[in-house]
Symmetry: C2
Subunit: 218 residues, 2 copies
DNA sequence: CGATGTGAACCCTTTCACAGCG
DNA sequence: CGCTGTGAAAGGGTTCACATCG
Protein backbone atom coordinates (compact mmCIF):
# COMPACT_ATOMS: atom_id res chain seq x y z
CA UNK A 1 0.00 0.00 0.00
CA UNK A 2 2.49 2.54 1.19
CA UNK A 3 5.37 3.11 -1.25
CA UNK A 4 8.79 1.97 -0.01
CA UNK A 5 10.72 4.28 2.24
CA UNK A 6 11.99 1.91 4.85
CA UNK A 7 14.75 -0.63 4.44
CA UNK A 8 13.64 -4.09 3.37
CA UNK A 9 14.26 -6.92 5.82
CA UNK A 10 17.33 -8.99 4.99
CA UNK A 11 15.30 -12.12 4.54
CA UNK A 12 13.06 -10.48 1.97
CA UNK A 13 16.03 -9.01 0.19
CA UNK A 14 17.69 -12.34 -0.29
CA UNK A 15 14.58 -13.68 -2.00
CA UNK A 16 14.05 -10.70 -4.28
CA UNK A 17 16.77 -11.72 -6.67
CA UNK A 18 15.09 -15.09 -7.05
CA UNK A 19 11.81 -13.43 -7.94
CA UNK A 20 13.54 -11.26 -10.46
CA UNK A 21 15.16 -14.24 -12.09
CA UNK A 22 11.86 -16.09 -12.27
CA UNK A 23 10.16 -13.02 -13.73
CA UNK A 24 12.75 -12.69 -16.47
CA UNK A 25 12.18 -16.31 -17.38
CA UNK A 26 8.42 -15.72 -17.51
CA UNK A 27 8.87 -12.66 -19.64
CA UNK A 28 10.87 -14.62 -22.16
CA UNK A 29 8.06 -17.12 -22.47
CA UNK A 30 5.80 -14.22 -23.37
CA UNK A 31 3.48 -14.17 -20.38
CA UNK A 32 2.23 -10.84 -19.15
CA UNK A 33 0.62 -11.63 -15.79
CA UNK A 34 1.31 -14.21 -13.14
CA UNK A 35 -0.24 -15.36 -9.88
CA UNK A 36 1.64 -15.51 -6.61
CA UNK A 37 1.18 -19.26 -6.64
CA UNK A 38 2.97 -19.77 -9.94
CA UNK A 39 5.70 -17.22 -9.36
CA UNK A 40 6.39 -18.65 -5.93
CA UNK A 41 6.79 -22.12 -7.36
CA UNK A 42 9.22 -20.84 -9.97
CA UNK A 43 11.26 -19.06 -7.34
CA UNK A 44 11.18 -21.98 -4.95
CA UNK A 45 9.26 -20.38 -2.09
CA UNK A 46 5.68 -20.52 -0.83
CA UNK A 47 3.08 -18.12 -2.06
CA UNK A 48 2.28 -16.54 1.31
CA UNK A 49 5.75 -15.22 1.80
CA UNK A 50 5.95 -14.06 -1.76
CA UNK A 51 2.84 -11.95 -1.32
CA UNK A 52 4.12 -10.56 1.94
CA UNK A 53 7.46 -9.69 0.36
CA UNK A 54 5.85 -7.96 -2.57
CA UNK A 55 3.49 -6.05 -0.32
CA UNK A 56 6.57 -4.36 1.14
CA UNK A 57 7.25 -2.79 -2.22
CA UNK A 58 3.95 -1.01 -1.94
CA UNK A 59 2.31 -3.33 -4.36
CA UNK A 60 -0.27 -3.40 -6.92
CA UNK A 61 -1.24 -6.88 -7.92
CA UNK A 62 -4.72 -7.30 -9.30
CA UNK A 63 -7.06 -9.41 -7.20
CA UNK A 64 -8.48 -12.31 -9.08
CA UNK A 65 -5.72 -11.97 -11.69
CA UNK A 66 -2.19 -11.65 -10.36
CA UNK A 67 0.81 -9.42 -11.00
CA UNK A 68 1.93 -7.75 -14.20
CA UNK A 69 5.27 -9.33 -14.94
CA UNK A 70 6.78 -6.31 -16.64
CA UNK A 71 5.80 -3.86 -13.92
CA UNK A 72 6.84 -6.16 -11.12
CA UNK A 73 10.25 -6.88 -12.61
CA UNK A 74 10.96 -3.21 -13.04
CA UNK A 75 9.84 -2.36 -9.54
CA UNK A 76 12.07 -4.99 -7.99
CA UNK A 77 14.95 -4.01 -10.17
CA UNK A 78 14.61 -0.36 -9.22
CA UNK A 79 14.23 -1.21 -5.55
CA UNK A 80 17.42 -3.26 -5.50
CA UNK A 81 19.26 -0.38 -7.10
CA UNK A 82 20.07 -2.26 -10.28
CA UNK A 83 19.11 0.76 -12.31
CA UNK A 84 22.29 2.43 -11.21
CA UNK A 85 25.49 2.10 -13.14
CA UNK A 86 27.58 -0.37 -11.19
CA UNK A 87 31.20 -0.39 -12.25
CA UNK A 88 33.03 -3.31 -10.81
CA UNK A 89 36.73 -3.95 -10.36
CA UNK A 90 37.91 -7.48 -9.65
CA UNK A 91 40.97 -8.00 -7.49
CA UNK A 92 42.70 -11.25 -8.23
CA UNK A 93 43.06 -12.71 -11.69
CA UNK A 94 43.44 -16.31 -10.60
CA UNK A 95 40.88 -18.91 -11.58
CA UNK A 96 38.24 -17.47 -9.31
CA UNK A 97 38.77 -13.93 -10.56
CA UNK A 98 38.59 -15.15 -14.12
CA UNK A 99 35.47 -17.14 -13.44
CA UNK A 100 33.81 -14.09 -11.91
CA UNK A 101 34.96 -11.81 -14.72
CA UNK A 102 33.27 -14.08 -17.21
CA UNK A 103 30.26 -14.98 -15.09
CA UNK A 104 27.10 -14.05 -16.92
CA UNK A 105 25.16 -13.44 -13.71
CA UNK A 106 27.52 -10.60 -12.88
CA UNK A 107 26.89 -8.86 -16.15
CA UNK A 108 23.15 -8.85 -15.66
CA UNK A 109 21.42 -6.17 -13.71
CA UNK A 110 23.61 -3.23 -14.38
CA UNK A 111 26.89 -4.70 -13.19
CA UNK A 112 29.73 -4.24 -15.59
CA UNK A 113 33.22 -5.47 -14.97
CA UNK A 114 35.52 -2.58 -15.80
CA UNK A 115 38.92 -3.75 -14.59
CA UNK A 116 40.87 -6.71 -13.27
CA UNK A 117 43.87 -6.34 -10.97
CA UNK A 118 46.53 -8.68 -9.67
CA UNK A 119 49.85 -8.54 -7.87
CA UNK A 120 51.58 -11.37 -9.72
CA UNK A 121 54.02 -9.92 -12.27
CA UNK A 122 53.65 -12.89 -14.58
CA UNK A 123 49.95 -12.42 -15.22
CA UNK A 124 49.82 -8.65 -15.41
CA UNK A 125 49.09 -7.80 -19.00
CA UNK A 126 47.12 -11.00 -19.63
CA UNK A 127 43.68 -10.63 -21.13
CA UNK A 128 40.75 -11.73 -18.97
CA UNK A 129 37.22 -11.45 -20.29
CA UNK A 130 38.43 -8.85 -22.73
CA UNK A 131 40.24 -6.78 -20.11
CA UNK A 132 43.93 -6.36 -19.55
CA UNK A 133 45.07 -7.39 -16.07
CA UNK A 134 46.50 -4.35 -14.28
CA UNK A 135 48.92 -4.13 -11.39
CA UNK A 136 47.26 -3.37 -8.07
CA UNK A 137 49.32 -0.22 -7.93
CA UNK A 138 46.99 1.27 -10.50
CA UNK A 139 43.95 0.70 -8.32
CA UNK A 140 43.43 4.27 -7.17
CA UNK A 141 44.07 5.76 -10.59
CA UNK A 142 41.81 3.25 -12.31
CA UNK A 143 39.07 3.80 -9.77
CA UNK A 144 38.98 7.49 -10.55
CA UNK A 145 39.44 7.06 -14.25
CA UNK A 146 36.84 4.33 -14.73
CA UNK A 147 34.46 5.41 -11.99
CA UNK A 148 34.63 2.11 -10.15
CA UNK A 149 32.09 1.91 -7.34
CA UNK A 150 32.26 -1.76 -6.42
CA UNK A 151 35.10 -4.21 -5.84
CA UNK A 152 35.18 -7.99 -5.80
CA UNK A 153 37.96 -9.58 -3.79
CA UNK A 154 38.98 -12.90 -5.33
CA UNK A 155 42.28 -13.32 -3.55
CA UNK A 156 43.70 -15.79 -1.00
CA UNK A 157 42.80 -15.25 2.66
CA UNK A 158 46.14 -13.89 3.82
CA UNK A 159 46.18 -11.19 1.15
CA UNK A 160 42.59 -10.13 1.60
CA UNK A 161 42.83 -7.59 4.42
CA UNK A 162 45.73 -5.79 2.82
CA UNK A 163 43.98 -5.53 -0.52
CA UNK A 164 40.74 -4.61 1.16
CA UNK A 165 42.51 -1.65 2.74
CA UNK A 166 43.78 -0.55 -0.63
CA UNK A 167 40.32 -0.82 -2.14
CA UNK A 168 38.94 1.36 0.62
CA UNK A 169 41.85 3.74 0.23
CA UNK A 170 41.07 4.06 -3.45
CA UNK A 171 37.63 5.30 -2.56
CA UNK A 172 35.51 2.25 -3.30
CA UNK A 173 32.81 1.77 -0.68
CA UNK A 174 31.20 -1.49 -1.75
CA UNK A 175 33.01 -4.79 -1.52
CA UNK A 176 32.13 -8.41 -2.16
CA UNK A 177 34.75 -10.74 -0.77
CA UNK A 178 35.35 -14.40 -1.51
CA UNK A 179 38.23 -14.70 0.94
CA UNK A 180 37.61 -16.89 3.98
CA UNK A 181 38.53 -14.25 6.55
CA UNK A 182 36.77 -11.55 8.55
CA UNK A 183 37.63 -8.20 7.02
CA UNK A 184 37.78 -5.03 9.05
CA UNK A 185 36.57 -1.91 7.30
CA UNK A 186 35.83 1.64 8.41
CA UNK A 187 32.32 2.87 9.09
CA UNK A 188 30.39 3.53 5.93
CA UNK A 189 31.95 0.78 3.84
CA UNK A 190 29.55 -1.93 2.71
CA UNK A 191 30.95 -5.39 2.68
CA UNK A 192 29.57 -8.85 2.00
CA UNK A 193 31.23 -12.17 2.08
CA UNK A 194 30.66 -15.38 0.15
CA UNK A 195 32.08 -18.34 2.01
CA UNK A 196 32.30 -21.36 -0.22
CA UNK A 197 33.95 -23.64 2.31
CA UNK A 198 31.16 -22.89 4.77
CA UNK A 199 28.62 -24.21 2.33
CA UNK A 200 30.46 -27.48 1.94
CA UNK A 201 30.68 -27.89 5.68
CA UNK A 202 27.01 -27.23 6.20
CA UNK A 203 26.24 -29.72 3.48
CA UNK A 204 28.46 -32.25 5.21
CA UNK A 205 26.56 -31.75 8.41
CA UNK A 206 23.18 -32.34 6.84
CA UNK A 207 24.49 -35.24 4.83
CA UNK A 208 26.05 -36.89 7.81
CA UNK A 209 23.14 -36.33 10.14
CA UNK A 210 21.88 -39.69 11.31
CA UNK A 211 24.81 -41.50 9.75
CA UNK A 212 27.83 -40.45 11.73
CA UNK A 213 25.74 -40.19 14.92
CA UNK A 214 26.30 -42.23 18.11
CA UNK A 215 23.68 -44.82 17.13
CA UNK A 216 20.07 -43.78 16.99
CA UNK A 217 18.10 -46.05 19.28
CA UNK A 218 14.70 -46.92 17.83
CA UNK B 1 24.79 -29.82 29.44
CA UNK B 2 23.05 -32.51 27.46
CA UNK B 3 25.19 -34.02 24.68
CA UNK B 4 24.01 -33.37 21.12
CA UNK B 5 21.28 -35.51 19.69
CA UNK B 6 19.05 -32.98 18.02
CA UNK B 7 19.79 -31.12 14.82
CA UNK B 8 21.54 -27.81 15.23
CA UNK B 9 19.64 -24.71 14.13
CA UNK B 10 20.65 -23.48 10.68
CA UNK B 11 21.81 -20.17 12.08
CA UNK B 12 24.13 -21.83 14.55
CA UNK B 13 25.45 -24.14 11.88
CA UNK B 14 26.44 -21.31 9.62
CA UNK B 15 28.51 -19.76 12.37
CA UNK B 16 30.24 -22.99 13.41
CA UNK B 17 32.57 -22.96 10.47
CA UNK B 18 33.67 -19.46 11.49
CA UNK B 19 34.45 -20.64 14.99
CA UNK B 20 36.42 -23.54 13.63
CA UNK B 21 38.47 -21.26 11.44
CA UNK B 22 39.19 -18.90 14.31
CA UNK B 23 40.17 -21.82 16.53
CA UNK B 24 42.64 -23.15 13.98
CA UNK B 25 44.23 -19.74 13.84
CA UNK B 26 44.47 -19.63 17.64
CA UNK B 27 45.98 -23.08 17.71
CA UNK B 28 48.68 -22.04 15.32
CA UNK B 29 49.61 -19.17 17.58
CA UNK B 30 50.10 -21.71 20.33
CA UNK B 31 47.31 -20.76 22.71
CA UNK B 32 45.56 -23.50 24.59
CA UNK B 33 42.49 -21.82 26.10
CA UNK B 34 40.31 -18.96 24.99
CA UNK B 35 37.43 -16.94 26.35
CA UNK B 36 34.12 -16.52 24.59
CA UNK B 37 34.88 -12.82 24.32
CA UNK B 38 38.10 -13.28 22.38
CA UNK B 39 36.90 -16.14 20.23
CA UNK B 40 33.75 -14.23 19.35
CA UNK B 41 35.77 -11.22 18.24
CA UNK B 42 37.94 -13.41 16.04
CA UNK B 43 34.90 -15.01 14.46
CA UNK B 44 33.10 -11.72 14.01
CA UNK B 45 30.11 -12.37 16.26
CA UNK B 46 29.12 -11.31 19.78
CA UNK B 47 30.04 -13.39 22.78
CA UNK B 48 26.51 -14.12 23.94
CA UNK B 49 25.56 -15.93 20.80
CA UNK B 50 28.84 -17.77 20.74
CA UNK B 51 28.22 -19.13 24.22
CA UNK B 52 24.70 -20.09 23.30
CA UNK B 53 25.89 -21.85 20.16
CA UNK B 54 28.54 -23.79 22.02
CA UNK B 55 26.12 -24.76 24.74
CA UNK B 56 24.20 -26.68 22.08
CA UNK B 57 27.17 -28.97 21.66
CA UNK B 58 26.76 -30.02 25.26
CA UNK B 59 29.63 -27.96 26.39
CA UNK B 60 32.38 -27.92 28.80
CA UNK B 61 33.98 -24.53 29.08
CA UNK B 62 35.63 -23.76 32.39
CA UNK B 63 34.11 -20.86 34.30
CA UNK B 64 36.61 -18.19 35.05
CA UNK B 65 38.93 -19.55 32.36
CA UNK B 66 37.33 -20.24 28.99
CA UNK B 67 37.37 -23.06 26.48
CA UNK B 68 40.15 -25.49 25.61
CA UNK B 69 40.97 -24.73 22.03
CA UNK B 70 42.00 -28.24 21.07
CA UNK B 71 38.94 -29.90 22.55
CA UNK B 72 36.55 -27.34 21.16
CA UNK B 73 37.95 -27.55 17.65
CA UNK B 74 37.66 -31.31 17.65
CA UNK B 75 34.14 -31.26 18.99
CA UNK B 76 32.96 -28.84 16.35
CA UNK B 77 34.75 -30.73 13.64
CA UNK B 78 33.18 -33.99 14.70
CA UNK B 79 29.75 -32.41 14.99
CA UNK B 80 29.89 -31.01 11.49
CA UNK B 81 30.84 -34.42 10.17
CA UNK B 82 34.24 -33.35 8.94
CA UNK B 83 35.76 -36.48 10.38
CA UNK B 84 34.19 -38.45 7.59
CA UNK B 85 35.95 -39.07 4.36
CA UNK B 86 34.34 -36.68 1.89
CA UNK B 87 35.17 -37.51 -1.69
CA UNK B 88 34.15 -34.76 -4.02
CA UNK B 89 33.59 -34.72 -7.76
CA UNK B 90 33.45 -31.40 -9.56
CA UNK B 91 31.23 -31.02 -12.60
CA UNK B 92 32.41 -28.34 -14.93
CA UNK B 93 36.06 -27.65 -15.65
CA UNK B 94 35.63 -24.04 -16.67
CA UNK B 95 37.19 -21.25 -14.68
CA UNK B 96 34.88 -21.75 -11.74
CA UNK B 97 35.44 -25.48 -11.64
CA UNK B 98 39.16 -24.95 -11.79
CA UNK B 99 39.06 -22.35 -9.08
CA UNK B 100 37.11 -24.70 -6.85
CA UNK B 101 39.39 -27.63 -7.60
CA UNK B 102 42.35 -25.60 -6.47
CA UNK B 103 40.62 -23.77 -3.62
CA UNK B 104 42.45 -24.45 -0.38
CA UNK B 105 39.32 -24.10 1.72
CA UNK B 106 37.84 -27.11 -0.03
CA UNK B 107 40.78 -29.29 0.83
CA UNK B 108 40.50 -28.52 4.52
CA UNK B 109 38.22 -30.45 6.78
CA UNK B 110 38.25 -33.82 5.14
CA UNK B 111 37.13 -32.75 1.69
CA UNK B 112 39.23 -34.17 -1.09
CA UNK B 113 38.62 -33.49 -4.73
CA UNK B 114 38.77 -36.84 -6.47
CA UNK B 115 37.58 -36.09 -9.98
CA UNK B 116 36.68 -33.33 -12.40
CA UNK B 117 34.18 -33.80 -15.23
CA UNK B 118 33.13 -31.79 -18.23
CA UNK B 119 31.12 -32.20 -21.41
CA UNK B 120 33.34 -30.13 -23.71
CA UNK B 121 35.43 -32.42 -25.92
CA UNK B 122 38.25 -29.93 -26.14
CA UNK B 123 39.04 -29.84 -22.47
CA UNK B 124 38.55 -33.49 -21.62
CA UNK B 125 41.97 -34.85 -20.86
CA UNK B 126 43.30 -31.53 -19.56
CA UNK B 127 44.91 -31.54 -16.15
CA UNK B 128 43.16 -29.54 -13.42
CA UNK B 129 44.63 -29.42 -9.94
CA UNK B 130 46.50 -32.61 -10.72
CA UNK B 131 43.45 -34.45 -12.01
CA UNK B 132 42.59 -35.42 -15.55
CA UNK B 133 39.29 -33.98 -16.75
CA UNK B 134 36.90 -36.83 -17.53
CA UNK B 135 33.88 -36.93 -19.79
CA UNK B 136 30.57 -36.75 -17.93
CA UNK B 137 29.74 -40.14 -19.35
CA UNK B 138 32.16 -41.63 -16.86
CA UNK B 139 30.32 -40.14 -13.92
CA UNK B 140 28.58 -43.28 -12.72
CA UNK B 141 31.62 -45.47 -13.14
CA UNK B 142 33.91 -42.97 -11.46
CA UNK B 143 31.49 -42.53 -8.58
CA UNK B 144 31.60 -46.21 -7.82
CA UNK B 145 35.29 -46.57 -8.46
CA UNK B 146 36.41 -43.54 -6.43
CA UNK B 147 33.68 -43.66 -3.82
CA UNK B 148 32.44 -40.15 -4.55
CA UNK B 149 29.87 -38.98 -2.01
CA UNK B 150 29.62 -35.31 -2.84
CA UNK B 151 29.31 -33.33 -6.08
CA UNK B 152 29.93 -29.70 -6.87
CA UNK B 153 28.05 -28.27 -9.84
CA UNK B 154 30.10 -25.55 -11.49
CA UNK B 155 28.21 -25.41 -14.76
CA UNK B 156 26.06 -22.81 -16.54
CA UNK B 157 22.45 -22.48 -15.46
CA UNK B 158 20.86 -24.16 -18.44
CA UNK B 159 22.98 -27.28 -18.07
CA UNK B 160 22.59 -27.58 -14.32
CA UNK B 161 19.36 -29.54 -14.02
CA UNK B 162 20.43 -32.09 -16.56
CA UNK B 163 23.76 -32.66 -14.88
CA UNK B 164 22.15 -32.66 -11.49
CA UNK B 165 19.95 -35.53 -12.64
CA UNK B 166 22.99 -37.45 -13.77
CA UNK B 167 24.74 -36.86 -10.46
CA UNK B 168 21.73 -38.20 -8.63
CA UNK B 169 21.51 -41.09 -11.04
CA UNK B 170 25.13 -41.95 -10.32
CA UNK B 171 24.23 -42.36 -6.67
CA UNK B 172 25.65 -39.18 -5.19
CA UNK B 173 23.31 -37.74 -2.56
CA UNK B 174 25.05 -34.48 -1.62
CA UNK B 175 25.29 -31.59 -4.01
CA UNK B 176 26.62 -28.06 -3.85
CA UNK B 177 25.50 -26.00 -6.82
CA UNK B 178 26.84 -22.72 -8.11
CA UNK B 179 24.31 -22.49 -10.92
CA UNK B 180 21.74 -19.69 -10.63
CA UNK B 181 18.71 -21.93 -10.97
CA UNK B 182 16.37 -23.85 -8.68
CA UNK B 183 17.21 -27.52 -8.95
CA UNK B 184 14.66 -30.23 -8.44
CA UNK B 185 15.89 -33.36 -6.72
CA UNK B 186 14.22 -36.45 -5.30
CA UNK B 187 13.53 -36.88 -1.59
CA UNK B 188 16.65 -37.74 0.34
CA UNK B 189 19.10 -35.77 -1.77
CA UNK B 190 20.84 -32.94 0.04
CA UNK B 191 21.41 -29.86 -1.99
CA UNK B 192 22.76 -26.38 -1.29
CA UNK B 193 23.16 -23.45 -3.55
CA UNK B 194 25.66 -20.62 -3.64
CA UNK B 195 24.28 -17.66 -5.52
CA UNK B 196 27.01 -15.20 -6.39
CA UNK B 197 24.82 -12.82 -8.35
CA UNK B 198 22.45 -12.59 -5.40
CA UNK B 199 25.23 -11.30 -3.20
CA UNK B 200 26.09 -8.56 -5.65
CA UNK B 201 22.48 -7.51 -5.84
CA UNK B 202 22.08 -7.37 -2.09
CA UNK B 203 25.25 -5.35 -1.90
CA UNK B 204 23.88 -2.98 -4.50
CA UNK B 205 20.75 -2.49 -2.45
CA UNK B 206 22.62 -1.63 0.72
CA UNK B 207 25.04 0.56 -1.17
CA UNK B 208 22.32 2.44 -2.92
CA UNK B 209 20.12 2.85 0.10
CA UNK B 210 19.68 6.52 0.80
CA UNK B 211 21.38 7.47 -2.44
CA UNK B 212 19.04 6.32 -5.17
CA UNK B 213 15.98 7.07 -3.03
CA UNK B 214 13.18 9.54 -3.88
CA UNK B 215 14.70 12.28 -1.73
CA UNK B 216 14.78 11.84 1.98
CA UNK B 217 13.02 14.84 3.55
CA UNK B 218 14.78 16.02 6.74
C1' DC C 1 36.82 -12.89 40.88
C1' DG C 2 36.14 -13.89 36.05
C1' DA C 3 33.84 -16.24 32.49
C1' DT C 4 30.41 -19.74 31.52
C1' DG C 5 25.72 -21.28 30.83
C1' DT C 6 20.96 -19.97 30.59
C1' DG C 7 16.13 -18.19 31.66
C1' DA C 8 13.50 -14.41 30.06
C1' DA C 9 12.63 -10.61 27.03
C1' DC C 10 12.82 -9.01 22.64
C1' DC C 11 12.77 -8.90 17.79
C1' DC C 12 12.56 -10.72 13.24
C1' DT C 13 10.35 -14.23 9.97
C1' DT C 14 7.18 -17.31 8.50
C1' DT C 15 2.77 -19.35 8.28
C1' DC C 16 -2.19 -19.25 8.66
C1' DA C 17 -6.46 -17.93 7.29
C1' DC C 18 -9.61 -14.84 5.56
C1' DA C 19 -11.64 -10.23 4.54
C1' DG C 20 -11.86 -7.48 0.57
C1' DC C 21 -11.46 -6.18 -4.05
C1' DG C 22 -11.47 -6.58 -9.17
C1' DC D 1 -15.31 -16.34 -8.05
C1' DG D 2 -10.22 -16.06 -7.64
C1' DC D 3 -6.33 -14.00 -5.95
C1' DT D 4 -4.30 -10.32 -3.46
C1' DG D 5 -3.08 -8.07 0.76
C1' DT D 6 -2.78 -8.42 5.66
C1' DG D 7 -3.94 -8.95 10.60
C1' DA D 8 -3.00 -12.33 13.99
C1' DA D 9 -0.63 -16.37 15.62
C1' DA D 10 3.32 -19.19 15.82
C1' DG D 11 8.07 -20.06 15.51
C1' DG D 12 13.11 -19.03 15.53
C1' DG D 13 16.96 -16.53 16.68
C1' DT D 14 19.37 -12.93 19.23
C1' DT D 15 20.30 -10.09 23.10
C1' DC D 16 20.20 -9.15 28.00
C1' DA D 17 21.52 -9.87 32.40
C1' DC D 18 22.72 -12.59 36.10
C1' DA D 19 23.02 -16.78 39.01
C1' DT D 20 26.49 -20.11 39.20
C1' DC D 21 30.63 -22.33 39.45
C1' DG D 22 35.81 -23.28 38.95
Amino acid sequence: MIPVQKALPEATLSRMTGYLRALEAMREVGRSTISSEVLAAAAGVNSAILRKDLSLLGTFGTRGVGYRIEVLAETISATLGLERDWRVGILGAGNLGRALAGYAGFREGGFSIQAVFDVAENIIGDTVAGLTVRPVGELAAATAELGLNMAVLAVPGPAAQRLCDRVVGAGITNILSFAPVILHVPEGIHIRRVDMARELQILAYHAGFGAGRPADPA
